[in-house]
């Protein structure tokens, strides 16, 4: 398993953002669903080794990220796209991706080819030399995805990756997710259940810091056949599980 989490918690002062989450994920696309404030982003930040958990056990890529050496090794094999992507406006697309390739300590000789590949995979080859300040919000999101995948990560964490993408790009992105998921563990946090239905092999639903559902998209859909609300089957499963958890 690339991701092994048990009883993970995280507190910010008096607020408990993540309250005892246990999950396991191997290669494939893992969808993380949940309403605003459910704790998805905090869970992803812990998995990205940006913040440490308050309690619980976290193992990534068969390593314990609590200690320096393994954490550094995990980070070399990690791709992360945060919810709010900051960027340096003066950098070009290629420079920004190269910057993160170097920060991920990729072998320098491999960097130029890896950058070109990553930029091409997000359909930004034509904009490789464009300054980031000139790009639209959707293009910036794709730049964020490019920097996340530039090192061919074994563990890819994407927080709201399709926010701002147009429908065509979203379709392309789902295809990319499926391709990446063939050999890496891709964890996608999203509000958009159609993304989960189209690309994910496994899905977890979080609410109030806890995982209230863990299964396949089909199993989630099945939960909504009788009492869920929504336009799509998966949405009905989503609302049904949430309603049951809050009942």
């Amino acid at each position: 398993m690339n991701v092994e989490i048990s009883d993970l918690t995280r507190r910010f002062g008096r607020h408990q953002a993540v309250a005892g989450v246990s999950l396991q994920a191997g290669p494939g696309v893992f969808g993380l669903l949940g309403p605003n404030g459910a704790g998805k982003t905090t869970l992803l930040r812990m998995m990205a080794t940006v913040i440490p958990p308050t309690t619980g056990r976290l193992r990534l890529l068969d390593r314990d990220p609590a200690t320096h050496g393994p954490r550094r090794e995990v980070r070399r094999r990690l791709g992360y796209l945060p919810q709010n992507l900051g960027y340096y406006p003066g950098f070009t697309v290629a420079e920004f991706v190269e910057y993160f390739a170097l920060l991920k300590e990729m072998p320098a000789a491999r960097v130029p080819a890896a950058v070109a590949t990553a930029v091409e995979r997000v359909d930004l080859s034509g904009k490789a030399k464009a300054k980031l300040r000139t790009l639209s919000g959707g293009m910036l999101r794709r730049v964020g995805i490019a920097q996340a995948i530039v090192n061919e990560p074994e563990l890819l964490l994407l927080d709201e990756p399709t926010a701002g993408l147009d429908p065509e790009q979203r379709v392309h992105f789902r295809a990319l997710l499926r391709e990446l998921g063939q050999r890496a563990t891709v964890v996608v946090s999203t509000h958009l259940v159609e993304d989960v239905g189209a690309a994910c092999t496994q899905v977890a639903l979080m609410d109030q810091g806890k995982v209230v559902f863990d299964g396949t998209p089909g199993e989630l859909t099945a939960r909504g056949t009788e009492q869920g609300t929504g336009d799509a089957p998966l949405e009905r499963g989503y609302t049904a599980v949430l309603a049951a958890a809050r009942a």
Binding site: R72, R121, L176
Partner: protein
């Protein structure tokens, strides 16, 4: 986005990552940082500030290496301070301002290493600006200077000061990321540097550690300093030790929050602080040496006290005047200022065959006061007065007046009095004083009472019979005065010439 399969990537195992790849990676990172550094865009500002504040003043100085090098040290860091500290603070706060902290926190390269790359790029551009300014000043000075070569210690101090400035700015930006930290830290460092130099008091002051101070505070860049004797590097060494220690301490402190490197960073910080503290303590033991520079006993090399060998530059006046070759450009002005006295007294008994410039002697007084004197023997030696034309407050008229009051009066007194009256302590006759007063071309501003405390002579009071006789004598040409003195000097010295007998 395409789902085309990516090229098979060989996994970079930690063990296989060679040092060469790491260096190459760091080099590429540095190149990126250099290309996108705020200091690059502030280079024109740095050059404009230096041109306005430092360059014009330095170039107005006489082309003497000591004057220009020491003034350069005093000005350059101050002029670079605003762009360097500002750019460093801006770059240091970049991750926080751009909300990219989470993104970079999840990468393998340690934060310390990442920050050092950004700081190094900022510092590299600031150093480039510093070196370009030095190169311009030194190249122009090399074309105009009549003697000597570049003084490198002031340059070393400035070059070592730049990383300290950028480290202060960068650390402030990294620790307090925000838009306002840049102007705030720039203003604080500006006033810190400015007031730091003003706080200096005497040769034992700890504040001499400021890298803007190139010598004793009250004389600073003086023509007589580091001309007859070598430039003493004592204070410069302490200043470099201080700025290097400060830089290391600040950069080390940046690494303290990194858990695994906390101890290493703490040790580096402590070492830097120790170096900086030691340097401050050393500066406090400084003393003004007789040659006008600050000597620090623990750093002092006794061999540096040997005078510099030189071949003097001599004029062709009736009594030749010889100056240190660094002053060669001022020889015509010196000769002109006392030309009539040289013609008048040449060949007379007691007149020197040659007059040579000697080194001034500096002595620390209370506070920042420094006494400048000369150990001259007879009328054959003199010191070229400060300030030279071109130095702050120095004009050609003032320079000539200072020479007349110094060398001219010294020469006239020596020849007319013959040394006898001074050594015996007897008051010279009115006729002798009238001849002295008539021989020396005092500027119109000089009154008799001005000179009394300086030379032990009381020149005739305006309107007195002696004063009238002096004016009468002064109306003669130098050749006529020489002819009269050739025939009457012995009688004049013996007191057998009255005021009425003066021509």
């Amino acid at each position: 986005m395409t789902a085309a399969s990516a090229p098979a990537a060989s996994r970079p195992a930690a063990a296989r990552r060679g040092a060469g790849s790491a260096v190459l990676g760091s080099g590429r990172l540095l190149r990126l940082e250099l290309r996108h550094n705020a200091m690059l865009w502030l280079l024109p500002v740095a050059f404009a500030l230096f041109w306005y504040n430092g360059y014009r003043e330095i170039m107005a100085l006489p082309p003497m290496w000591n004057l220009r090098a020491m003034t350069l040290q005093n000005r350059l860091l101050f002029d670079l301070m605003v762009p360097a500290v500002g750019a460093a603070a801006w770059m240091g706060s970049r991750e926080g301002r751009r909300s990219i902290t989470d993104l970079v926190a999840g990468t393998a390269r340690p934060r310390w290493s990442r920050q050092l790359a950004t700081w190094a790029a900022t510092t590299a551009w600031a150093e480039l600006a510093c070196l370009i300014c030095v190169a311009v000043v030194y190249l122009i000075t090399a074309r105009h200077a009549s003697w000597g070569g570049p003084l490198w210690w002031p340059v070393v101090v400035s070059v070592a000061g730049v990383p300290a400035l950028t480290a202060i700015g960068f650390a402030a930006g990294a620790w307090f990321p925000g838009r306002f930290v840049t102007p705030l830290v720039t203003v604080v460092v500006f006033f810190g540097l400015a007031f730091g130099t003003q706080a200096t008091s005497g040769d034992h002051s700890y504040w001499q550690i400021s890298p803007l101070i190139a010598g004793a505070f009250d004389i600073g860049a003086a023509p007589g300093v580091a001309t007859f004797y070598p430039y003493l590097p004592d204070l410069s060494i302490a200043q470099v030790m201080f700025t290097a220690g400060l830089t290391v301490a600040i950069l080390g402190a940046l690494g303290i929050p990194v858990a695994r490197m906390r101890w290493l960073a703490a040790v580096i910080t402590a070492a830097g602080l120790a170096a900086a503290g030691t340097a401050v303590a050393l500066a406090g033991t400084g003393r003004l040496d007789p040659h006008g520079m600050i000597a620090i006993p623990a750093l002092h090399d006794a061999a540096a006290g040997q005078p510099v060998r030189y071949t003097p530059a001599c004029g062709r006046s009736p009594i030749p005047i010889c100056v240190h070759p660094a002053y060669a450009g001022f020889l015509p002005a010196v000769t002109t200022a006392v030309g009539s006295e040289l013609t008048e007294f040449a060949g007379l008994p007691g007149a020197p065959a040659r007059i040579s410039q000697v080194a001034p002697v500096y002595q620390q007084e209370t506070g920042n006061g420094i006494n400048v004197s000369a150990h001259v023997s007879g009328a054959s030696e003199f010191i070229v007065p400060d300030p030279l034309p071109g130095q702050p407050g120095g004009t050609s008229t003032q320079f000539a007046a200072n020479l007349a009051e110094g060398l001219g009066l010294q020469l006239a007194s020596r020849v007319i009095l013959g040394g006898a009256d001074q050594s015996a302590g007897a008051a010279p006759s009115q006729a002798k004083l009238a001849v002295i007063a008539g021989s020396v071309r005092f500027p119109s501003s000089v009154e008799s009472r001005d000179l009394a405390p300086l030379y032990g002579q009381v020149l005739p009071e305006p309107g007195s019979p002696a004063s009238l006789a002096a004016k009468r004598f002064a109306a003669l040409s130098p050749a006529a005065r020489h002819a009269w003195l050739a025939g009457h000097l012995a009688a004049l010295r013996a007191g057998r010439v009255s005021l009425a007998q003066l021509p």
